[in-house]
Symmetry: C2
Subunit: 123 residues, 2 copies
């Protein structure tokens, strides 16, 4: 299993790249800033770290690089989910799901939807 561990801040950059890609630095900066109060230079730092870790690829040439994710959102979610599950629920997915279902944060509609999902899985 590939260990994909993306810290909070870097994740914000991944999120905008997952929305669509490739994007240039100025685009990324704009998009990240639309939901985070960061300096442009901070966004650049995050992006640089992601590139160094090979979570993002920098292509094209100087002065107008294109950036695109090398880790899919699904892979990152899966990885983060597993870590979360391992840390808090001893790796038992059912335990975790039960916990959230019981946590009382679901609307009736959501409960219905999950019920449908489960019914589908049953087959």
């Amino acid at each position: 299993m590939e260990e994909v561990r993306i810290p909070e801040g870097e994740l914000e950059v991944m999120k905008v790249l997952w929305e669509h890609s490739p994007q240039t630095l100025p685009e990324i900066v704009r998009n990240v800033q639309s939901s985070n109060p960061w300096e442009a230079v901070t966004v650049k730092t995050m992006l640089g770290r992601l590139v160094r870790k090979s979570f993002v690829r920098q292509s094209g040439s100087r002065r107008s690089y294109q950036y695109e994710p090398l880790v899919s959102k699904a892979a990152a979610l899966k990885s983060a989910g597993r870590q979360f599950m391992d840390r808090l629920f001893d790796g038992a997915p059912a335990a975790m799901i039960s916990f959230f279902i019981r946590s009382g944060e679901l609307s009736p509609a959501e409960i219905q939807e999950i019920g449908r999902l489960i019914d589908e899985m049953k087959k």
Copy 2:
């Protein structure tokens, strides 16, 4: 909402305190070491940090303190769960649960069990 953020290492100590409490340092050390390859002194560091943050209370007197959690497991799980959900699923519990259900990590028995849970919630 009380922000309870417990780092990985400290969480290992909380876990043994949640098992049962109060416990003395040597007990905690032994229990933590049963699932982590840590030096006793490292366990003590974690414990100290937890005490400083008031996540654990130290009572009794020197040379034989008793330690007990001030944060319940349920509260910690809930908090961690919310943070996880916010970070990765924009705070939408149903989206997260769907993701895990779809992730294909559930056995048929677990799916049954979750189905039962959902049925109960429906009422």
